[in-house]
Structures are given as C-alpha cells and as structure tokens.
C-alpha cells in the first residue's frame, strides 16, 4: 500500500494540478520555502506522481533567459491527490465537529 502523502506534498500537487508550473510558481502559489519545495518535487518525481520536462531551448532564447523546468501531474499523481484531498477533507470535518462539540 503506498504511503499517505503529507500536507506539504498535497499542497505542491495541488499547485501543479491546474497547469504545469515551474519551481518558482509552485513556491509562490503554495507559500512554502524554496528549500522545502525543490526536495519535495524531487521526491514526488521519484515516486512517479509528477514528471518534469525542460522548456524548449529556442523558446527560452527568444525571451533571452535560461530555460525553465516545468512539472506536471501523472495519472498516478492525480489519483494520489484526489485520495489525499478526500482524506484531508474528512480530517477537517472531524476536527471541526470536535471543536464545536468541545466548545459547548
């Protein structure tokens, strides 16, 4: 059985889901530190949940900048994100009802 993903991994998968961002976009979307994001991207890539592709060299040259590395979810990554999101939603509901019960 695959290991459950942590909140950080889910945040990063969520930031990658809608479009294929490069690292800086993941950092700004999640608000996580760059030192957290890049190793996590590496781990997710090794687990086969995301894949990386280099931008076309000519496209980068046209804009006069180094080429970027874009990330996208694999089918396995989409499944893991859906499972993780459902797990977090259940947990949030449980915690919310516990908080309401505790407050009374």
């Amino acid at each position: 059985m695959p290991r459950s993903l942590g909140i950080t991994s889910l945040q990063i998968l969520g930031a990658i889901r809608d479009h294929s961002p490069y690292g800086l976009e993941v950092v700004t979307r999640t608000g996580l530190a760059s030192g957290t994001v890049y190793p996590t991207l590496g781990r997710l890539k090794r687990s086969g949940l995301i894949k990386a592709r280099w931008e076309d060299q000519r496209a980068a040259e046209r804009e006069g900048r180094p080429r970027r590395r874009y990330y996208e979810l694999t089918a396995e990554g989409q499944r893991s994100l859906a499972e993780g999101a459902s797990r977090v939603a259940t947990l949030a509901a449980d915690l919310s009802s516990a908080a309401v019960g505790g407050a009374g």
């Binding site: 490069y22 800086l24 530190a33 760059s34 030192g35 994001v37 090794r46 180094p66 590395r69």
Partner: protein, 226 residues
C-alpha cells in the same frame, strides 16, 4: 549584488550535487533565479527575496546526493575506497597516524577542559538544579558576594528556589607550633549541605540548628583530602 551572491550560493552548493546531475541541477536553479529577477524587475508583489530563495539550495543540494542511496551503493563505495587506500599503503599509514594523533589530542584536551570546567563537583545531588547567585558589574568583568543581610533577604523572599545557602571562602591555619599549614576552607550557613544534598561518610554535617546563635558552638566539616 544580491543576484551575484545568489549565483555564488548556487555555484558553491552545486559542489555537493553528484557530478552527473550537477549541470541539470544548476540549470534549473539559474532558470528559477532568472524568472525571479524578471518578476522583481516588473515589481510583482508577494515574491520571496532573491537571496532567501537561493538559500533553498542549501537543503536541496545535499538531498540530491543522498537521494537514492542504498545499502548496496554504500557498500560498493566502501569496497572502492578500501581498494584505493590499499594501493598506496604509505599514504594510508601517514593519513591514519595523522588522524589518530589529531583526534587523540583533541579528545584529551576536551576531557581535561570538560572535567575541570564543566563538570560539577562529585557528590552534589541534582547539580543541574544548582545555581550560584552573585553580583556582576557592567563596568568590569568582576563577581562579588552578597552581604549577610542581602543573602537572608534572598533566602526569605525567593519563591522559585527550593533552598538558599551562603558561604564565604577563607584560609585556615591548622597544626601546632611550627608544624602548621594553610588550607582553603569556607564559612557556611546551616543549610549549606542540605541544599547541596551532600551526605557525610562519618559523623554529621553542619545543620540549621548550628546556625541559630552566632558563636554558640563551633562545628567543622573535614574533607576527605584533608
């Protein structure tokens, strides 16, 4: 300037990345940095600082080295290192002796300093809860004792200390006639040994009852070395 420092950080951290993946790794970080510089130039808000962002390489570079480490690959490295060292035994011997001398000297100095400066004297109960209270001065690196009334005030008013005891260092002369010598000692309050949690090997120690009327009777505690 910040950009230069950030690039330097990436260059240095890159030395920790395995050779075969270093180019790709640096390429990605330089790409990110260029994007960040571009966004900063456009005045986009909510972006991390350039240098703070580049410092992300500090955990990332070692991670690249340890990623995918297995017991097999480590054993392979160990076998390779052993073969290289055995190929030049003279160098290996000199390196091993140098390391042994260096480590030995450092360990000896550490033991000495630790024993003399950091370890509490033997026999004290819970030395980590023991504190020394003294007066210090901003003008000079000097410590002073408190007066007797001040010590009494601290003892009576303190709410966070389980006990307060006082002492004052003195030199005492022991012996008779020409057979005398000076020994270091202390005048102590009645609860001194109770606060330290020290127990006598023979006889009894100074107690609070000895400390009621000054000069009523004299009690002395001799150390084992005396």
């Amino acid at each position: 300037m910040t950009s230069l420092v950030a690039r330097l950080v990436i260059r240095v951290a890159g030395l920790f990345v395995p050779w075969g993946r270093r180019g790709e790794w640096r390429g990605e970080w330089h790409g990110e940095l260029a994007a960040l510089e571009y966004e900063h130039a456009r005045g986009t808000t909510g972006l991390p600082d350039l240098l703070t962002y580049a410092l992300g390489v500090v955990p990332h570079a070692p991670w690249m080295r340890t990623e995918g480490w297995t017991m097999d690959s480590m054993l392979q490295d160990l076998r390779f290192s052993t073969r290289v060292l055995l190929r030049s035994p003279g160098f290996t011997l000199v390196a091993a002796v140098t390391l042994a001398l260096g480590i030995g000297a450092n360990a000896s100095i550490f033991s000495l300093v630790n024993g003399l400066m950091f370890r509490s004297p033997a026999g004290i109960h819970e030395p980590d809860r023991l504190v020394q209270i003294a007066r210090s001065y901003e003008s000079a690196p000097r410590w002073d004792n408190f007066s007797w009334p001040a010590m009494e005030l601290i003892r009576d008013e303190s709410r966070m200390l389980s006990g307060v005891a006082g002492y004052s260092g003195r030199s005492f002369v022991i012996g008779r006639g020409t057979e005398t010598r000076q020994v270091p000692g202390q005048f102590v309050t009645g609860d001194y040994f109770a606060v330290l949690g020290v127990h006598p090997v023979v006889g009894r120690l100074v107690q609070p009852a000895d400390d009621v009327n000054p000069g009523e009777h004299s009690v002395v505690v001799l150390s084992h070395s005396l």
